[in-house]
Structures are given as structure tokens and as C-alpha cells.
């Protein structure tokens, strides 16, 4: 029987994954693996995956067959930074949740982006803290009821991709999990055309257990709903405020190819010490 294209990048002995049935994390994995495949990457020996704590952080660890560092909650980016600086030859990819990367880890995200650190960061925005059972995240919609917002979430969600686009980062995009092809292509771009500096892809993928099912929907129904709800940012920008709130703006927010931190750092050192 034919084998799924993703399996060669996976540790088969630990499958199926530990995610809930229908969890969209697995779809991101498909897109990621298809990007690898289309880029002709045979194995992931020269890739290092770094993640924090949360459901999404389990994607690489232990499932992806590559070196992976499953770090502390919120600290994937500094660990990844250390890895990349110590061996710039490696492809370093961070995968994590919105809680992990934007709440407790928000500062590292901001500063890595500012530094244009040579990393690809994929953030799964599932609107809640999945692993700890559905509490509000910084991405939780205003008014939503969760275990920590029993009367409705008084906070407004964070537009992480926009904020990162406002820094010195090279590449910023947001996609819905329902936009498989553009998501996959975006990952490809972030590994090929834009292969240096800070690259950030936000993946909008509501937690199946603590968002989708609580809304009374099946993962398949929600996926179809998302196909309508997620639109291109250009379209979104021309909408009324009301209409905007009902949609998710997706697309490439920024795509530059400036030298990343490492090149710049080396350049300054070469300038100063080169003469020696």
C-alpha cells in the first residue's frame, strides 16, 4: 500500500500522535511535510525543531523524526536562538502554541523578531490553552467563556502576526488551517526564498476539544466554516469594522530578505577584527 508522504518525516513507532481526534495540529504537520517533500528534503538530519510546552509543542516532540528540543513553557525561542547561533548551518524551526509563544513567551518572540534572528517560527493560534484544559489565551476572542473567564473574556485578542510585522522581522504570514495549499506554500517560501532572518507564520486553528466541540461543532464542520471565515488580508482591509470582526485576515503580511542577525553580527566583527 502507498505510504502517506508525511510518514517518512515521522517516528512511526510513536504514532498515532497524542492529539485529540480531529485536532488540527495534524493538518499543520501535513502542510509542513508536504513543503519538505516539495523542497526535495529527504530527511531532517540538518533540521532542529524547538518547542515549548503545550499541545502544539508536542508536534515535533516526539513525533517528527529530527533532533528536537522540547523546552520549558515559553522558552523555545531563546533555546532555538542558542542552537542557531552555535551552529548557523542548522535549520532551526520553532513550533508552538499561542500561549507558549505569545503569552509567557511573548517577550522572546518580540526580541527575536526585532533582532531578525535566523529562525522560522510557526505559531498555532488555537484560541485557548489546550494542554491545561481550555483556559483563555491572549488570542481568545473577546467575551468568550472559558474556565478562567467564566463571565466572558474581558480582554481583546492579540493580533500576533501584525505585531511581529511591525518589527524588523523578514517574513510574516498568517493562514487558517483550512488554507492548506497557501499554508504549505508559505512554509516552503519561509524555507527557501526567504531563508534567513526571522520568519513567522501564524496558523489559525481553533482547538478542537476546547473551542470547536464546545461550540457544538465537529472538526469537519468547523473546517468548512473556516474556509469561508478566513479571507485574504487585502479583502479584509476593505471590509466594514463589523464584517472584519467576523472574518480572519490571512495572507503574507511582510516578505523581505534582509540579512539576518547572524550575518550582521559577523559583518561587524569582521569589520573590526578583519584587519588582524
Amino acid at each position: 500500500m502507498a505510504e502517506h508522504f508525511g510518514l517518512k518525516y515521522l517516528r512511526k513507532e510513536v504514532l498515532p500522535t497524542a492529539f485529540c481526534p480531529g485536532c488540527y495540529n495534524g493538518i499543520l504537520m501535513n502542510a509542513l511535510f508536504q513543503a519538505f517533500m516539495e523542497l526535495g528534503i529527504e530527511d531532517l538530519k540538518r533540521f532542529v525543531f524547538v518547542s515549548g510546552i503545550g499541545c502544539s509543542s508536542w508536534i515535533p516532540s516526539p513525533f517528527i523524526k529530527a533532533d528536537s528540543l522540547h523546552t520549558l513553557h515559553g522558552r523555545a525561542i531563546p533555546v532555538a536562538t542558542g542552537v542557531k547561533l552555535a551552529n548557523p548551518e542548522l535549520n532551526v524551526i520553532v513550533i508552538g502554541g499561542d500561549g507558549d509563544l505569545a503569552s509567557i513567551g511573548g517577550n522572546h518572540l518580540l526580541h527575536a523578531a526585532r533582532r531578525n534572528m535566523d529562525l522560522l517560527v510557526i505559531m498555532i493560534n488555537n484560541q485557548v490553552y489546550g494542554m491545561t484544559r481550555g483556559q483563555a489565551a491572549p488570542t481568545t476572542p473577546h467575551g468568550m467563556i472559558t474556565p478562567t473567564t467564566p463571565y466572558g473574556n474581558p480582554e481583546r485578542p492579540m493580533d500576533v502576526a501584525s505585531i511581529i510585522a511591525g518589527t524588523n522581522a523578514n517574513y510574516v504570514a498568517r493562514w487558517c488551517i483550512s488554507q492548506y495549499i497557501p499554508l504549505k506554500n508559505s512554509i516552503k517560501d519561509a524555507l527557501s526564498r526567504y531563508s534567513r532572518g526571522f520568519r513567522f507564520i501564524e496558523v489559525y486553528a481553533p482547538c478542537v476539544t476546547y473551542v470547536v466541540r464546545r461550540e457544538g461543532k465537529t472538526p469537519g464542520e468547523k473546517l468548512k466554516e473556516l474556509m469561508k471565515k478566513c479571507i485574504r488580508i487585502e479583502t479584509w482591509k476593505n471590509m466594514s469594522r463589523e464584517e472584519r470582526e467576523k472574518h480572519v485576515a490571512t495572507g503574507v503580511f511582510k516578505a523581505e530578505d534582509k540579512p539576518g542577525f547572524i550575518e550582521t553580527y559577523n559583518k561587524y566583527i569582521a569589520q573590526a577584527l578583519g584587519e588582524k
Binding site: K45, H70, R75, V79, G82, V83, L90, H108, L273
Partner: protein, 367 residues
């Protein structure tokens, strides 16, 4: 390559670390450790190493963890407040068996306290500052020369036992300048990489730390701070996996205590009057002992793991035990493990950057 230099302890650490093979530094400025960072920023690129200023200490400790797995000997330096922020990361390094050196140049706390004033208040924190069952190594120098020599030792221990080593240095030593002979390392421990069939997180004999893969070389290593088996696979349920892991992490240190634990005796080795000390209080103690005679100084170099049997042996038959500390009493808890609490005489002084003077020790010795 022996060079005779006039260096502060902070500067000596930088040269020692570089001579020990340190090639990565991440840190965040904080008095009284910042000079380490400044000199690292300058010197590391000259030897092909990498320096980065982190956005905070949480980032710093985690960056050096990443760099260590990527194959570079790595360190950071900080002081109390930053050290407190690093605790979670240090615990992760213990759990993942990541060799690191963390320098804590101690100032007077708690909280912001007196940022430029020497103290020894972080001793217990160095051992116990993080959650769970975790064991690491703590070393304290007494002079800038030792800052140089022992930081090399610290890297060797970190590499040999795959453990973070906390280098606990009083501000006096960090900022005090003295002659330092840059003599190079006698031996450097080279990280052992595993063969394909050797697990990176386990060994039959708990005294033998497992070999450490380097990222990017096809080991497909799984590093996790969750409970894991010898191949790095997470097991967040099983008793056996957890118990085996944490006891091994303890035993690889404590069962090698004979190799790791170091102390020195000064003064009259047969005296029944004994001073027990570490760090900057040792030199006044030795001075005092020499002046009054009939006194032995037991000076701990390794502060953790602590060989209580050796300590007991050295204190057996002691008539009077004096424990001078630049804090409100921490080392005294160790002494009290092996010697009656009620018979220990303590000297506790902290604040203003004022040392304990020999005269103060003599007063207690002769009281």
C-alpha cells in the same frame, strides 16, 4: 602560554572560561557581574566564539542551553536577581543533562538589596533554588587566581557529568584585582558522543553519565524536560521511568562525590579549634588562624555535592567550631549535620560590602 596578569576575578573568569574551551556566552547586564559580559563580548569573537546579549535572564539561560546542545561549551554570568530568574532554566538543564556553567557573582540581597556590595547569601539557593528533585554542582573560588583555575574545573565537571555547574563567587573576588597566572588548562574534558546504540539519557551504571549527542549529526535526539526514558521518549505516567531518571540524575553526582568534592585544610591540621568557610571569608580565616595558631581552617571548594562524611571526619573531635559567613547563616546548616548545633559559633555579617576581618574571627576563636 603562561601569562602573569593583573586581573579582577570577573576578568579571570573570562580568560579561564575561554581557556576551558567556552565558545558561547549569553547574558544580561547586572552588577556586580557585568564585567564578565563586557569582556566576553570582546574576547569571544577573537577566538571564534559567539556572544549575545539576551533580552533578560530567562532568555540568557535558555540560549546557553540551546548552544550547549548544538555543541559549544556555554556559560552565562549574573547576580542574585538574575540568578533567581534563571532557576527554572537551570532545572531544565539538570533534567536534560545539559553541561553549562552559571556564574553568580553574589551581592547583598534579598531582592535588589545593595547591588555593589559583596555577600554570600545565595548558597542555599544555588543548591535548592528550583523545583523538584534536582542535583547539580556548586563551586566557590577564594581568589581571582582560583576564579581562573576553578572555572576551568567547572567546565570540566559540567562536561564530564553533563550537569550545570553553579560558580558562586563573592563580589569581593569578582571586583578585586590580583595577580592571575593564566596557565591554561591541565586537561580539558571532551564531550563524549554516543554511538548509534548508546542511549543519550541513560546508562547501566548510574555513576557513568550518558554520552551527549550533538544536534545536526543524525542522532535524532529527543531532548525534553518532561520525564523521559533513556532514549528521550516522554513518559509522563510511569513511576519506574521517573524514579529511575531522577535517582540516576542524583547518583551520577553523589556517587561520584569522591571525584567531585574538594576542600582544603589550612593552618594547623591537628588543631581542635576549627573554622569552616567558603569564598571570600576564607582568607581572613586563614590569616586569623596563622596569627593565633592552634587553629585549623576547613575551606570548602565544592559546596554541592557536599561530602558529609568527610566533613564529619574533619570535625570529629573538634573542640570549637567557628563558621563565619557573609550572610545570616547558611553553611552552618551543613556543619550542623555533623556537629552539634549548640556548639557551633557563627559569625554572620552582611551589608555595606564590609568583609569579615581576621580580628573578628580571632575574637570568636579566643572567646
Amino acid at each position: 602560554m603562561t601569562e602573569r596578569l593583573f586581573l579582577s576575578g570577573n576578568e579571570a573568569i573570562v580568560y579561564g572560561a575561554i581557556d576551558a574551551g567556552c565558545r558561547f556566552y549569553a547574558g544580561y547586564p547586572i552588577t556586580p557581574s557585568s564585567e564578565i559580559m563586557h569582556l566576553m563580548a570582546k574576547e569571544l569573537p577573537r577566538v571564534g566564539g559567539v556572544f549575545i546579549q539576551a533580552e533578560d535572564e530567562l532568555a540568557a539561560i535558555n540560549m546557553i542551553i540551546g548552544a550547549s546542545w548544538a555543541g559549544l561549551k556555554s556559560m552565562t554570568a549574573t547576580s542574585g536577581p538574575g540568578f533567581s530568574l534563571m532557576q527554572e532554566g537551570i532545572g531544565y538543564a539538570v533534567m536534560t543533562e545539559t553541561p553549562l556553567v552559571i556564574v553568580d557573582v553574589m551581592r547583598a540581597g534579598p531582592a535588589t538589596g545593595q547591588a555593589t556590595k559583596s555577600a554570600q547569601g545565595d548558597l542555599m539557593q544555588a543548591r535548592w533554588g528550583r523545583h523538584g528533585d534536582q542535583y547539580l554542582v556548586v563551586i566557590a573560588p577564594m581568589t581571582p587566581q582560583e576564579a581562573y583555575d576553578l572555572i576551568i574545573e567547572a567546565f570540566n565537571i559540567a562536561e564530564a557529568y553533563r550537569v550545570p555547574v553553579v560558580f558562586l563567587m563573592d563580589e569581593f573576588i569578582g571586583h578585586g584585582r590580583e595577580i592571575v597566572v593564566r596557565r591554561g588548562a591541565d586537561k580539558l574534558v571532551v564531550r563524549r558522543k554516543p554511538s548509534d546504540h548508546e542511549p543519550p539519557f541513560g546508562s547501566k551504571d548510574p555513576r557513568i553519565p550518558p554520552p551527549m549527542p550533538r544536534l545536526g549529526e543524525g542522532h535524532y535526539v529527543l531532548v525534553t524536560g518532561s520525564t523521559h526514558n533513556e532514549w528521550g521518549y516522554r513518559d509522563v505516567h510511569g513511576f519506574e521511568t521517573h524514579y529511575k531518571l531522577v535517582t540516576r540524575l542524583k547518583e551520577k553526582i553523589w556517587d561520584n562525590i569522591d571525584k567531585i568534592f574538594k576542600y582544603k585544610v589550612y593552618g594547623d591540621p591537628d588543631a581542635r579549634r576549627i573554622i569552616v568557610c567558603f569564598g571570600s571569608t576564607c582568607r581572613p580565616a586563614i590569616d586569623a588562624a596563622e596569627r593565633v595558631g592552634g587553629t585549623k581552617v576547613l575551606r570548602l571548594i565544592t559546596l554541592w555535592p557536599l561530602n558529609y562524611d568527610k566533613l564529619a571526619e574533619e570535625l570529629s573531635g573538634a573542640g570549637k567550631v567557628v563558621v563565619p559567613e557573609l550572610n545570616l547563616g547558611q553553611l552552618v546548616y551543613d556543619v550542623a549535620q555533623v556537629y552539634p548545633r549548640s556548639k557551633i559559633r557563627v559569625i554572620n555579617k552582611v551589608g555595606g560590602g564590609i568583609p569579615i576581618y581576621p580580628s573578628e574571627i580571632i575574637k570568636v576563636l579566643e572567646a
